[in-house]
Structures are given as C-alpha cells and as structure tokens.
Symmetry: C2
Subunit: 526 residues, 2 copies
Amino acid sequence: METLRSYLSGSWYEASSGFEELVNPTTEEILARASAEGADLAHALHFARNRSGPALRAMTFAQRAEMLKGLAKAIHASREELLDLGVRNGGNTRSDAKFDVDGASSTLAAYADLGASLGDGRFLVDGDPIPMGRSSRLAGQHVLVPRRGVAVLINAFNFPAWGLAEKAACAWLAGVPVLVKPATPTALLTVRLVEKLLATNLLPEGALQLLVGAPGDLLCHLGPQDVVSFTGSSRTGTLIRTHPQLAARSVRVNVEADSLNASILGPDVEPGSEVYAAFLADIVRDVTQKAGQKCTAIRRIFVPIERLDSVREELVERLAAIRVGDPCRDTVQMGPVATAAQLRSVREGIRTLLASERVEIATGGPDRPSVLEGVEGDRGFFVAPTLLVARDAVAARPVHEHEVFGPCTTLMPYDGTAQQAASLVALGEGGLVASIATNDRDFARDLILELAPFHGRVYLNSEKSVGVAPGPGTVFPQLLHGGPGRAGGGEELGGLRGLTGYMQRVALQGFGPLIDAIAAGGKRGG
Amino acid sequence: METLRSYLSGSWYEASSGFEELVNPTTEEILARASAEGADLAHALHFARNRSGPALRAMTFAQRAEMLKGLAKAIHASREELLDLGVRNGGNTRSDAKFDVDGASSTLAAYADLGASLGDGRFLVDGDPIPMGRSSRLAGQHVLVPRRGVAVLINAFNFPAWGLAEKAACAWLAGVPVLVKPATPTALLTVRLVEKLLATNLLPEGALQLLVGAPGDLLCHLGPQDVVSFTGSSRTGTLIRTHPQLAARSVRVNVEADSLNASILGPDVEPGSEVYAAFLADIVRDVTQKAGQKCTAIRRIFVPIERLDSVREELVERLAAIRVGDPCRDTVQMGPVATAAQLRSVREGIRTLLASERVEIATGGPDRPSVLEGVEGDRGFFVAPTLLVARDAVAARPVHEHEVFGPCTTLMPYDGTAQQAASLVALGEGGLVASIATNDRDFARDLILELAPFHGRVYLNSEKSVGVAPGPGTVFPQLLHGGPGRAGGGEELGGLRGLTGYMQRVALQGFGPLIDAIAAGGKRGG
C-alpha cells in the first residue's frame, strides 16, 4: 500500500503515524494511506513567504503565463494516468475523470493565455487615473499588487485536479505561492498531479506545496498577508471563517460551499422542442455526472404546474435507464459516490427530503440500487439516480435548505410567473448558479434580474444557443464561480477578477506624472 | 436632559430603561441619554428589506443621485447646528467638526455626481461582453446588482457625521437601505443629522433607520443578503466577524479597524525645504486634529537616522506650542479626547509604548497637561500632544502593535534605504495609509511598491504637489479607504468600487444578443 507524502519546504515528508486510508469506492479496496502528522507547517509557510513569494513576484505576467502553459501541458501529457486515478480513487467514469483532469489543464491554459496578454508587467492597474481637487498636479491611481503571503487552498473531494488548478492558476498568475490541502479520501490523484507539476521544474521552489492528511495547526500560523481559499461544506467553511487566528488577524478567507442550484423551465417551452430537450439533458447530466457530486449540479427543478407530470415522466425514463456500476466498464454511465461517509450522508439526505411534506420518490431513492454492473456482492458506495417530486414547493422547506451531495434532484411546480419562480429559488438563500430555459425575452429578463442578487452565475438556455451551450454545471475560467449566502459568499475565477483574491488593491496618491510613471510598470486588465 | 430616540420601522422609538449617558468631554456635563432597549430590531430589518429595498431599487442611479444631492444640501443647511454639536458632544474644535460635517456633505455630493453620470440605469455592468467557446452565439457578461438586504452601518465615535455619510452614500447609490448604529458617546450629532436627513422627505421610508444605544440582538437577525459595515476597534471587528449568525449565513462583513499609519521621510529631503515643512505639518495636523482620534492619523514616523534629532526638535517645538483646552474658544487648537474611557485607554497606551525598549517622551506624555485654556479644575478628558521617540525601531515592538487612539505619535530612525523603511513599516501588519516625503523618483517607486501590499492607500508628498496636497489623513471619496491585516481587510469608497460592497457580482451566460439586451439596462461605471 502506498503511503502518500506531503511536499513541504522543498522536500517530501512522510509521516509515521496518524494515517487515514484511501479506498476505491467501487471495490472498497484500500489504495493508499495518508497523514501529515509531525510536519512542520509553520516552516512550510515561512518557506513559501520568504523563498517562492519573491521569486514569483520577480517574474512578469508573461513569465508566469509561460509557466502555467507548461504546467497545463504536463497535466495533458499525464492525462491517461490521471484519468485512471480518477476512476480508481474517485469512482469516476472516464468521462467524469476527464471533466476534472481536462478541466484542470484547460483552466491553467486559459490563465496562461490571459497572462500572456498582460505581457511584462508584475502588477495590475485598476481603473483610470483620477484627477484630485482643483489642481491638475494631484492625482490618484488604484493598482492591485500581489499579497506577500501564502495562498492556502483547501479543496473538496470531488475535484482533486480541477479544484487545485482553478485556485492555483489565479494565485500563481497573481504572483502568490500556494499550499494545497486536498480532501484526503481522493488525494491520490492530487498527489500524482503535484508530482507531475513539480517535475516540470517550471515552478520556483516552494510555489507549490502539498499537505496530505489532517491540516494540524496549519491555520494557527497564518497571518494578514495570507489567503485561505476553501471549497467544501458550509459547516467547515464557518469553522474556518471563525477560526480565532484567521479572524483576529484579518486573514482573507474565500468560501465556496453548499448550493441548491435551481433550474427553471419557462412556461413558453413546449415539450418536444430543442430547448425542452436541452433542459432535460442538463438535469440528467447534473444528476449523473460525478454521481451528482458537483457543486454546480441542479438540485431543484421548477416547472410550470401543467408540465409537472410530463417532465417527471421524461426524467424518470432517462434516469432509470442510467447504467450504474463499476466505472472501469465502458458501458457504465455512473459510478459510486466517493466515500462511505458520503454514501451515508447522501442516504440520510434523501430521507430528510422525503420526510418533508408531500415529497415522494419518482425514481431511485436512498436504498442500494438493485442492479449494478460489474459490482461484487454489497461492495461499493452506490446510490441510484434519484428524482424526488415535491408537490408543494413552499411546504417542502428541507428541499431548499439541505443539499444532498449526490445523484439526487427534486422536481417542483410553480405558477409559470417569473415572480413566483424567483421567490421559490430565493428560498435556497443563495447559490452558485441558476438556469432558465425559455425563449421568452421578457420572462428571461425579469427572471434573470430577480435571480441575480442570489447567485454568482445565471445561465440562460434558449433556442438561439441550445446547440452550443455546455449546460449550467460547467464552470468556465472566464466567468465568476461562487455565490452569496449558503454558497459561501466567495468569488473565484471570472478571468482577471480571479486574481484579485490574491492581491491587495491600493490607491496611489500624489503628483500625477510621478504616479503615472509608477503605474506604467503595471498592466491594465481587460 | 434629552433622551435620544431610535428611528425604526417608520417611527421614533424611545426606550424606558438601559440608558447610557452622553457627556461633554470638555466640561463632563451630561448632555443626553440613550438606549434602544426593547426595540424590535427584527421588525426594523424586515421593514427595510420589504419596504425600502424595493423602493430604492426602483429608482434609477440618477434618481438616487438626486436624493444624495438633496441630503448633502440638507447637511450643509444645518451646518452651524451640527458643528456646535461636534464641539459640545465630541470635544471637537470648530475646525475638527468641519472636517467631520463638511466631510459628510461633500462625500454625499461626490456620490451624487458619480450617480448622475450613471443616468437611468439601476444596476452596473462589470467589464466587457465575453465570447465563450467556438460559437459567437454564446456569451458571458458580468453585472453588479443591488443586494436584497439591509446595510447595517456600525460606526466609531470619532466621525459621527462623516462615518454615516461615507457608508450610506455607497449603500444608497447601490440601491440598499441602511440601518445606522453610531457609537453611543457621540451619537447626539448623528441623531440630529438623521433628523435633518429624514426631514427632507427625499428618502424612501425605511431607507434610513437609526439605532441609538446597545445593539441588542441586532446581529442575530441578519441574513445572507445583508451587509455589516463596521468601523472601530480590531477587537470588536473580530467579534462581529466571528458572530455565529453572521459566519454561518455568510453575511458580508466589512471591517475598518486599527491602523499604525506610517510616515517616511526620504533621505533626499533637506531640512528647510517645502517638502520637509509639509512632512512636519502633516504630522502636527494628524497629532492634533480631532485630538489624534482619526483612523488615518500618522502613528509612526520614520526618518533617516541623521535627521532624528532635527525632526524631533522641530516637532517638539510645534507640538509643545499647541493650545489645548476648551474647543469652544477660538484660540484653542486641540480639544479633549471624546470620553473618559478613551482618556484611560490613551494614557494606558502611551505607558505601554513607554515601557518598551529605548522609548522616551520628547513632548507631552500620559499625564494631564499642566496648561489648559478655559478649563475648570480637573474637568475634561485632556491629553497633551505627545511625541515619543523610539531609538531602536525594531526593539520597540509595541509601537508597531498597539494603536494609541489619541494625540500621540512615535518618531523612529531608519537607515535611509527604501528596503529598511518598508520592512519597519511592515511590522505594523497592515494599515490604512502610508505616506512618503521625497523628491527622489527611484526611492519613491521602490518604497511605494514595497508598501503597497500592506496598505489601502499610499500617499506621496513631493515638491511638485506640496502646495495642493491635503495630507495623508484626509480620505477622499474617489480613493479606496481600508487596508489589510490590522486595518481589518475591508474596502470602502474608491468611487464606484464603494458600491460593490453592497452589490452582488453575477455572471450572465447565454445567447449573446439576449444577454447584451439585458445588460443594456445597466450602466458601465468608469
């Protein structure tokens, strides 16, 4: 059995106690063990701040971009090996694993392109020069400069590759070293990925550190120039945010947490139309892709009440036909959830939703699926693709409050007005993405503007874009990822916006031409 | 004695118990009493979210701007009455009170101008349309829309007028109602100001609510669309940030807290020069204006070691000549600190700094000044303008860690290099503003870029701008106010940037022309 090591302060660290085991969620075979017990984390942070921070900051945007490009290539070159780990350690189908691994390389590549366009600057210029007061001699100029600390990236189990890359791409292009702490159960892929990235020798020493296992006293050593970027549950997000050291020293914390993403069918969309088909396909993809373990997956479906039965029928037909089982098999369309704990949590979650008023199972449910392809006995953490129906959307409060992080979604009726749709979606108290299927411009406009304050992204599915759109569950590096309220209130990606989380905005104020000359060393983003 | 009332849910609320007294810090005469005990704060928040939020959002930027303009005029029309309250309740000289009251009206007026330039939009467009993927049919566009909650503005005692206005101007222009909770000891001015603003009838009902006294269970009723914007001590800032309700529900929190603002004299600046004179004048102003109770005041002065004695002499001469006493008198240049608690804290703070290695009093000190103009007996909360000298800047750690929020600053030597100056400033772990006096472009550039990550603003004082510059202690609405680390990590003002704290950024994604048509209803800031 492999013992996973951490990469800290320029060398690999192997613990001798405190191990957790990583298992194959299909076979329950133990794949590796991990622990960071005894690691000197204070020193690792110090090493990053003092060694790799200055090295990264000395590089121009173009040089950092060149580095990102090389890292993207390295991931692509090891694609097959990494996909295999996604299947074995994550319970991913090959397609799921591609979504993670190719997502990682394409996000790094996108930031490489963005960085190349910034050329030889080392900081960003934010907005135009500001004339101050009556004299033209005095001016102001905002700039964004890299923070002098470490970006601690704490990631969720569902995206061991992309989760690292989407955060690190922004931090590195901003000029900030990272220390990655992946979720232990699926850390095997992250470890291999880090090995590949380090082997390129493109990263300044200490710009990428890895902590595998429990984080120990890591947070206690963070200071005001550091950043914690966390993806995971609201509960852990709250613990991080209220950590005494982080709160007292204004450590910047970005949280991406639970989200009860909604999909709304417009009253104008006819069954059988292309938009209707895309609406259904997006739901089926989000229930099954990565066994529903995607923070952007559709958890709540709102359809005009007269469409409730037909949509239910269509979804049941499609979801019941999904082939669940060993993701090593080409014919299998959905694998298990990632861990035994996750299995328990998903089952309990489905039962919680079922316990609320007028909620019923349309297909699937909390019990182990009766048909599984290529699975022996009662092995593996399997859940069936599950559609629940809540006949009274308002009464079914748990549906708006509890995210079942697995292959489960709930269908509900609304009265066909943008106003009611928006008020039902808002019961979720903030999410990452909401999607609307409609060709009615007024309905689209009204609903988009009502949904906007509660989301980081609003996705419109209409006949004009139906062939080219990727569905709401795909996160693009160009667009913001994050959302208010339950979703944690964070912001990631969004092109250059993603860099600002790792930079300090500062107003320079003084003699105009001198301020201009200094700002000329930076680059205006766009 | 006046009983101060809160304005909540559309009417004035007077408590019957739980009173705190407000005193004149010069005479210790009791001026008023305040309490909000028994107020229904949950209802007040509900009232704002449901009544005034929709009304504000229905207004265009131009209409919100017109409202701000009218509010600015109302403050100006009541200027004399408000200045008098600043003198009586705040211990301000007339000039100090102007800084607060005129700061309030001019900030509202500046945001009125900004809003007018945005015209008839109701939300902001953020950046350019983003082509997505290979097809031109799919596009993304970021917009900023008003949050659907309440902005709870918790202010410090030192700026009862400006503190309200600078936060409320941004919230209102963004389209968000405010509930103001001023610091009780100086709330008399805020109450009168709120009365004047309400009397204009320009604000939608509930857009301005006032809570005078202890905040009770206010924070327990906040939700994910609300914002808390706090100015005050780091300790209270940490309490707010870690409040279980706020942390669990991702209530957005902006903190502006302690700051050990630094001023650095460049080695090129000759005694007797204009820049040298401005450097000294800025320090003297910051020690004495509002008795040093200004979050942007210079607390640490770094001069090349060969200038230590001459700068000390010059500052002692100027500070010792400051006429301290009853601020009602025209001849008095500095009044008392605002409260008995503040007096204790300032005295203790000076003693804390004096207890560190090689720190001595150059002028002033913790004891009551021996000469006070127009003050009877031992009345009033007076501190002398105080200059300390720390001969070893590194050894004097408390000087970099403890903000004495009163008329006190500490002079220290450095070796004349930008590098050492920057590393000494950084011991403060993040501040609101740092200022540099130099005509040397290379020194300026090097030091600005080194200081930038630790500050929200860097102010350059040079011969080209010396006649027109207002000093580092003045906050402009166009420029960012806030700072990392000890300063709380928040961002306020900065032109349109100040609105974003009260808005949600969201990416709209879909068929390009449709997204464009929706975004056309918003306004691009600039």
